[in-house]
C-alpha cells in the first residue's frame, strides 16, 4: 500500500524539524545534550539537590532523622543523593526498576555521575581543610580552611553529634594529587537471587558499574542479600529488626578481590598476612594482623537507587565495617551515594 498518504507522511517526516522522542515524557522534540534521551522541559524539571542541607544524609531540607540518637551510631560516613524523590522521579524509577525500561539506565547513571563529581569536590575540600591545619581531626572554625569545613564546623558546634565518631578522612591520600576525593572501591546494595532472576538486573549494580567505568574505579560485589523465607508481614517488629540485621552478608570472593587490590595499592596492612591462603581465611586468622602501623582505612562507596530511612545503607555499611574490622583489623569508611533522597 504505497499510497500517497504514506508518501506524504514520509515527506512530512523528512521536512519536519529534527527531533526525537523524549524517553521520559514521550513528546517529540529536540533532546538536550547534557542528559541522554530527554527533552529540555524534562531536564529542567529534575529536582537536583545542589546543596544538601543535612551533611549526614544529603537531604536538601533539614533532617530530623539524622538528629536521632541511633544515627550517632550509624556505620556509614555520609550519604549524598542526586535528586529529591518527588512524583516525577518516582515515575522514572518505577519505569526503570519495576517495568524494566532499561533505557533509563544511561540517564540515571549520568545523573548519579553528576552528584558523584559534586561529592568528590565537597569531600576533597574537606580533606584539604583537615589536612592543612587539623592533622588530628580537631575541627576549628577558621575562614582559611574553606567553605565546607566552615559550614561543617558550624554545624558541629551547633549539633555536635551530626558527624559522630566515625573515623573521618584519615589522611590525604598520596595517590590523589589534586583535591579530589576518590574511593578505593565501589560496591552496591545487592538484591536477592529470586528478585534478580525476576527482574533480570540489579539497578544498584548497573548504576555502580556505570559510575565505575566513568571514573575508572573498580566495582566489586562486596555483599550478598540472603533469601527471605517468610514474608515480612507475618513477623513481629523485633523479628523484623532482627531479620533486617541479618539480611546482608559479605560476598567472599568480592571482598577478597577488594582486599588484594587494597594490598597492591597500599601494601600489606601488616607483616602477618602475606600469603594468599591466609588472606582467604581472614576470619580465622584475622587477629594475626597487628596494629603496629595503623593501616589506612579502606574507603568504600556504596551505591543504591534510593535512600529513604537509611536503614538499608546502614545495614550494608555495618556488615562491611564489622567484617573488615573484626576480621582484619582494617578500618573501613563507607560512603553512600544514592540516586534519590526521599
Amino acid at each position: 500500500m504505497k499510497s500517497s498518504s504514506s508518501l506524504l507522511q514520509m515527506m512530512q517526516y523528512l521536512l519536519s524539524p529534527p527531533g526525537e522522542m523524549c524517553l521520559t515524557c514521550g513528546s517529540v522534540s529536540r533532546l538536550v545534550r547534557e542528559w541522554p534521551g530527554i527533552c529540555r522541559s524534562c531536564a529542567e524539571a529534575i529536582p537536583w539537590i545542589h546543596k544538601p542541607r543535612c551533611l549526614c544524609c544529603g537531604r536538601a531540607i533539614g533532617c530530623p532523622d539524622c538528629l536521632r540518637e541511633e544515627m550517632r551510631h550509624r556505620s556509614f560516613v555520609c550519604n549524598r543523593s542526586a535528586v529529591q524523590y518527588n512524583g516525577v522521579m518516582r515515575e522514572w524509577l518505577a519505569q526503570y526498576k519495576y517495568r524494566g525500561h532499561e533505557k533509563y539506565a544511561d540517564l540515571i547513571v549520568h545523573m548519579l555521575n553528576q552528584v558523584f563529581v559534586q561529592m568528590q569536590e565537597e569531600l576533597g575540600m574537606l580533606m584539604l581543610g583537615f589536612n592543612s591545619d587539623t592533622p588530628n581531626q580537631h575541627i576549628q572554625s577558621d575562614a582559611s580552611i574553606g567553605f565546607f569545613s566552615a559550614v561543617i564546623s558550624k554545624v558541629i558546634s551547633r549539633v555536635d553529634f551530626v558527624l559522630p565518631e566515625v573515623p573521618l578522612f584519615h589522611k590525604l591520600r598520596e595517590t590523589s594529587q589534586q583535591a579530589l576525593w576518590k574511593p578505593d572501591v565501589i560496591t552496591y546494595v545487592p538484591v536477592s537471587d529470586v528478585r534478580l532472576k525476576e527482574r533480570g538486573f540489579n539497578q544498584a549494580e548497573v548504576l555502580a558499574r556505570g559510575l565505575g567505568s566513568k571514573h575508572r574505579i573498580p566495582v566489586m560485589p562486596l555483599l550478598v542479600r540472603r533469601e527471605h523465607t517468610a514474608k515480612q508481614s507475618y513477623k513481629s517488629r523485633q523479628e523484623r529488626i532482627d531479620s533486617m540485621k541479618n539480611v546482608f552478608a559479605v560476598h567472599k570472593e568480592g571482598l577478597e578481590a577488594a582486599l588484594s587490590l587494597y594490598i597492591r595499592t597500599y601494601g600489606m596492612p601488616s607483616k602477618a598476612s602475606h600469603s594468599n591462603s591466609e588472606m582467604t581465611r581472614h576470619e580465622s586468622h584475622g587477629h594475626a594482623i597487628t596494629a603496629q602501623d595503623a593501616p589506612l582505612p579502606m574507603q568504600i562507596l556504596l551505591i543504591d537507587d534510593i535512600y529513604t530511612t537509611g536503614s538499608t545503607i546502614n545495614a550494608c555499611a555495618e556488615v562491611l565495617r564489622d567484617t573488615l574490622h573484626l576480621g582484619l583489623g582494617l578500618a573501613a569508611e563507607v560512603y553512600s551515594l544514592t540516586w534519590a533522597r526521599s
Binding site: M1, Q95, G100, V224, A257, N276, M279
Partner: protein, 764 residues
C-alpha cells in the same frame, strides 16, 4: 529463564522439544513408547540453555532420518550451527563494554571488573541446585566476562596470580576462551568435563532401554523452583500432575501470558497450583494443549544481501505478545546472556523478553452466530430503529457466514492487514473475517451490537467488546449486564479487580487484549479510529491475536480511517451503514464562516465579529455551545474575550491539562455553563442536549476529517432539538473540511434514499 532442550525420535520422526522439567519428559516419552510400541531416541542437547535460544533451536529444527546415526559431536555441531548468530551476537555485545574498558589506563579496574563479573555469575549459578556442585566457579566467571585472552594476559601480568586466582588466569590464557564462553551459554552445567569430547551435559537414551546413569540422575534430582516436589516415577504423583495440567490448561484457556502473569493468575485463582506449575505446564505442553514460547521471538535468519538495503539488514527480534520490534537488549540475570532482547512497547503489562516464558493455549474452532430471521424481527426484539435494525441484520448475516467464505478474509488493504507478515510468522495464516458497522454519530451503536453479542453467546461462544477508553468500559458494563442478565461479564481495564476472571462476555480496554490468544469467537471493536487504536500496529496485532483465526471482527465507527473507507468503496469489506441518527433526523451540515486565524483574532478581538454574531444567535436560541479550538494556549485568552463580549453568559474553558474538567462538563450539561471553550478531548463521547458546535481554525492540520465529523456530531443529538448548528470558522477551505462536509452530506443522502428520514435534509 533457562530451560532444557532435547531431540526426540518416534519411529522415523524427529522433533525438538524444550523442557521446564526434564523429569516429566523422561517419564512421558517412556510411557508413550511403551504404549505405542514405537521405538525412539531421546537426545538431551542441553540441560540448561537460555529460553530464547532453546525456542529458536526447537522452532527451526527439521528432522532427518540419518540423525539416528548421529554422534553426540554431530548433535553439538548442529546446535552450534543453529545458534551461531546468537552466539556471535553474544560475543560482540559482551565485548562492547569491554572494548570501552580496554581504553582504561588502570589495569586494576579492568582486572577487577572482569573478576567481579565472574563472581557475580558464580553467585547466581550457586542458586541452581545440584548442577553447580561440579561447576568450577572461576571458569564460569571467565566465560561470562566474555574476555579476550589479551585482557587476561595483562591481568595476569598485573599480579593476579599472586592473589590466588589461578583458575581464572588459566582460563583466560586458554586459547579456546571465546569458544568456552559461547558454549557456556547452553551448557554451563557440564563445564568440568568439557575437556573430554566437549559433549558433557548431553546424553542419549534409547527409549525402552534401561536408564543410563546420566538420565537416572536427572530423574532423581532435587526439584527446582516451580517444579513438582514429588517423585515423578510414582503413579499417584503422575495422576495428580495430570489433573493439575488439565486445571492449568483450563485456567489459561484463550490466554497469552508471561510466566509472571501466570504466577499472578494462579495465586489469585488457583493458589494450590501457584507454587509449582512448571511441571504440570510441561505435561500440558507434551500433550499438545499448551504452547511454550519465548516472549520475544529471536531475530529471523539473516538473509543474504539481494541488492536491497532491507534484505541485508536481517530481521530484528519481535515481541510475540504485542508484535512490536524488540529494540532493547541488555544483560539479563535470568538467562545469563549479555544481550537478551526485550520489548519496550508493552512494558506496561510486564516485561516481555527473549528469555521470559510465554504460555498460550491451543484454540478451539470458533462457533458461528445465527442469522436473524428478518430485519423487523431483529429491530422489534431489541427495540431498534429501522436503520439500526437493517444494519444489525446485515451484521448477523455476516456472523452466520462460514469462516473464510467472506470476501474480507485476507483483504488486500486496511487496518487489520498484518504488517510485516507478523501474523504469518506467529502461525496464524488466516485472518479473521471483518465487518464494518459505519454508524453516524448519535446513531445508537451500542444498542446495535446487542443482537450480535446475543447471537454468538446463544451458541456458547465467547465475545469481546473492546473500547479505547476506560470510562466507556465502566459506562457500558451496567448496560450490558442489564441486557444479558444470565451471562458472566468480565470488565478489564488497567487496575481492574477482575483481571484473571474469565466469562462469556468480556469488556476490555484495548491494552488488555494482549493477554488473550485465540480466545474469542466475536471481537467487537468500538471507535476504531479513536486513539489509541488509530495508527497503533501493536493494538491491531493484539486484537487480531485475541480473536480465533476463524472468528469474526466487527468494527464500529462513525469515521472509519481512510484505508477502510477505500475498502468499502472498492467493495472488498463487508459493511453496513447506519446513515441516520436514532431520532430519524438528518445530521446537521456544517456551515462555514470565513475568519482569520485565532492567533490573529486574539491580538485583534475586533476580528471575532462574524463569530460573535453567530454565537449570539446560538445563545438567543437557548443552545449550549461547544467552541473547539486547536491549541490549549488559545483557551484562556479566548475565554476572557468572550466573557467580555457576552456578559450575560457563563463562559468557561477546559482542556486535558484542567483537573476540574469533569465538573465543568457536568456544569455544562446542567446548563450552568452555556459556552465551553475546549479542544478535541471532548470530540467524542460527550452528549449534551440542544447543543451547537463551533470549530475555530477548522483549517488547522490538527483537525482531520474524522475529528471534524466527530466534533460536528456533538450537535443536534437529542430528539427535542435535532437541528443543531455546526459552524466551521476558518481562513481557508481545506480538504479535511470538504471531506467532512461531504461525508455528512453523503450520509444524509443515503438516509433519504432508504427512507429513514422523518424529513428531507435541508440543502445548505
Amino acid at each position: 529463564m533457562r530451560v532444557a532442550v532435547y531431540a526426540i525420535r518416534q519411529g522415523q520422526r524427529w522433533r525438538m522439544k524444550i523442557s521446564l522439567d526434564l523429569r516429566i519428559d523422561i517419564v512421558w516419552w517412556e510411557y508413550v513408547s511403551r504404549n505405542t510400541g514405537m521405538d525412539g531416541t531421546m537426545v538431551l542437547l542441553s540441560g540448561d540453555m537460555p529460553l530464547g535460544w532453546a525456542c529458536k533451536a526447537a522452532k527451526d529444527f527439521v528432522g532427518a532420518p540419518e540423525m539416528v546415526h548421529w554422534k553426540m559431536q554431530q548433535w553439538k555441531g548442529w546446535l552450534e550451527a543453529e545458534l551461531r548468530e546468537e552466539m556471535e551476537r553474544e560475543q560482540t555485545d559482551g565485548d562492547r563494554p569491554r572494548a570501552e574498558k580496554n581504553g582504561w589506563t588502570s589495569v586494576d579496574g579492568e582486572r577487577h571488573d572482569a573478576r567481579t563479573k565472574g563472581s557475580l555469575r558464580g553467585m547466581k549459578a550457586r542458586g541452581r541446585g545440584v548442577w553447580n556442585s561440579f561447576e568450577p566457579k572461576d571458569h564460569d566467571g571467565a566465560a561470562w566476562g566474555g574476555l579476550k585472552a589479551k585482557g587476561y594476559d595483562r591481568s595476569a601480568r598485573g599480579g593476579f596470580k599472586d592473589t590466588g586466582y589461578g583458575g581464572a588466569v588459566r582460563n583466560g590464557l586458554n586459547p579456546k576462551g571465546n569458544d568456552g564462553s559461547a558454549r557456556d551459554g547452553f551448557n554451563s552445567m557440564g563445564n568440568d568435563r568439557k575437556v573430554g569430547d566437549g559433549c558433557s551435559g548431553m546424553w542419549r537414551w534409547e527409549l525402552g532401554e534401561p536408564l543410563a546413569p546420566a538420565v537416572w540422575q536427572e530423574l532423581i534430582r532435587q526439584p527446582e523452583e516451580g517444579q513438582c516436589a514429588g517423585d515423578v516415577r510414582d503413579s499417584a504423583v503422575l495422576v495428580e500432575l495430570a489433573e493439575q495440567a488439565a486445571q492449568l490448561v483450563d485456567r489459561l484457556h484463550g490466554r497469552s501470558l508471561l510466566a509472571t502473569e501466570v504466577d499472578s493468575l494462579l495465586s489469585d485463582r488457583a493458589p494450590g497450583l501457584a507454587s509449582a506449575w512448571h511441571s504440570p505446564a510441561q505435561l500440558a505442553y507434551l500433550q499438545g494443549q499448551l504452547a511454550l514460547d519465548a516472549g520475544v521471538a529471536a531475530a529471523g535468519p539473516r538473509k543474504w544481501p539481494r541488492g536491497t538495503l532491507r534484505a541485508s539488514r536481517g530481521q530484528a527480534p519481535r515481541c510475540r505478545r504485542c508484535g512490536s520490534e524488540a529494540t532493547g537488549r541488555t544483560a539479563c540475570a535470568a538467562c545469563g546472556l549479555a544481550a537478551c532482547a526485550y520489548c519496550e512497547a508493552c512494558l506496561a503489562l510486564g516485561r516481555s523478553r527473549a528469555c521470559s516464558l510465554l504460555l498460550r493455549t491451543a484454540a478451539d474452532p470458533a462457533v458461528r452466530g445465527t442469522a436473524g430471521e428478518s430485519t423487523a424481527a431483529v429491530a422489534g426484539r431489541w427495540g431498534l430503529s429501522a436503520a439500526q435494525g437493517d444494519a444489525a441484520w446485515a451484521a448477523l448475516g455476516f456472523l452466520a457466514e462460514p469462516p473464510q467464505g467472506g470476501s474480507a478474509a485476507g483483504g488486500r488493504t486496511g487496518w487489520m492487514r498484518p504488517r510485516w507478515g507478523a501474523a504469518r510468522r506467529s502461525g496464524t495464516s488466516t485472518a479473521p473475517s471483518r465487518f464494518l458497522l459505519w454508524a453516524v454519530t448519535g446513531a445508537g451503536k451500542t444498542e446495535m451490537i446487542f443482537p450480535l453479542l446475543d447471537s454468538v453467546l446463544a451458541v456458547g461462544g465467547r465475545v469481546l467488546v473492546a473500547t479505547p477508553r476506560r470510562d466507556v468500559v465502566l459506562e457500558l458494563a451496567p448496560r450490558l449486564a442489564k441486557a444479558f442478565s444470565g451471562v458472566r461479564i468480565v470488565t478489564l481495564y488497567g487496575g481492574s479487580t477482575e483481571r484473571w476472571e474469565s466469562g462469556a462476555l468480556t469488556l476490555a480496554t484495548t491494552h488488555q487484549l494482549m493477554r488473550f490468544y485465540h480466545a474469542f469467537d466475536l471481537v467487537v471493536i468500538d471507535e476504531l479510529d479513536a486513539f489509541p487504536y488509530h495508527n497503533d500496529p501493536m493494538l491491531a496485532y493484539a486484537a487480531q491475536h485475541a480473536c480465533k483465526p476463524d472468528g469474526k471482527f466487527v468494527y464500529l465507527s462513525a469515521t472509519p480511517p481512510r484505508p477502510l473507507q477505500r475498502e468499502v468503496s472498492r467493495g472488498t469489506l463487508p459493511h453496513a451503514k447506519v446513515p441516520v441518527r436514532y431520532h430519524g433526523h438528518p445530521l446537521p451540515v456544517p456551515k462555514r464562516i470565513a475568519m482569520r486565524s485565532v492567533e490573529i483574532c486574539l491580538r485583534q478581538p475586533k476580528l471575532l465579529g462574524p463569530l460573535a454574531a453567530e454565537l449570539r444567535r446560538s445563545i438567543d436560541r437557548g443552545a449550549q455551545i461547544f467552541l473547539f479550538v486547536s491549541r490549549i494556549r488559545h483557551i484562556g485568552p479566548l475565554v476572557e474575550i468572550l466573557r467580555h463580549r457576552f456578559k450575560d453568559t457563563a463562559v468557561e474553558g477546559t482542556s486535558s491539562e484542567d483537573s476540574g474538567r469533569g465538573e465543568k462538563v457536568m456544569a455544562f450539561r446542567k446548563k450552568d455553563i452555556r459556552l465551553l471553550v475546549t479542544t478535541t478531548i471532548l470530540e467524542r463521547g460527550v452528549t449534551v442536549p440542544r447543543s451547537d458546535v463551533y470549530i475555530l481554525d477548522a483549517d488547522s492540520s490538527l483537525f482531520d476529517e474524522a475529528s471534524l465529523v466527530q466534533m460536528a456530531g456533538r450537535a443536534g443529538r437529542s430528539s427535542e432539538d435535532p437541528a443543531g448548528r455546526v459552524i466551521f470558522a476558518s481562513s481557508q477551505w481545506t480538504l479535511s473540511q470538504k471531506l467532512a462536509v461531504n461525508q455528512i452530506k453523503a450520509m444524509n443522502r443515503i438516509a433519504g434514499k432508504h427512507g429513514y428520514l422523518k424529513e428531507q435534509p435541508s440543502k445548505s
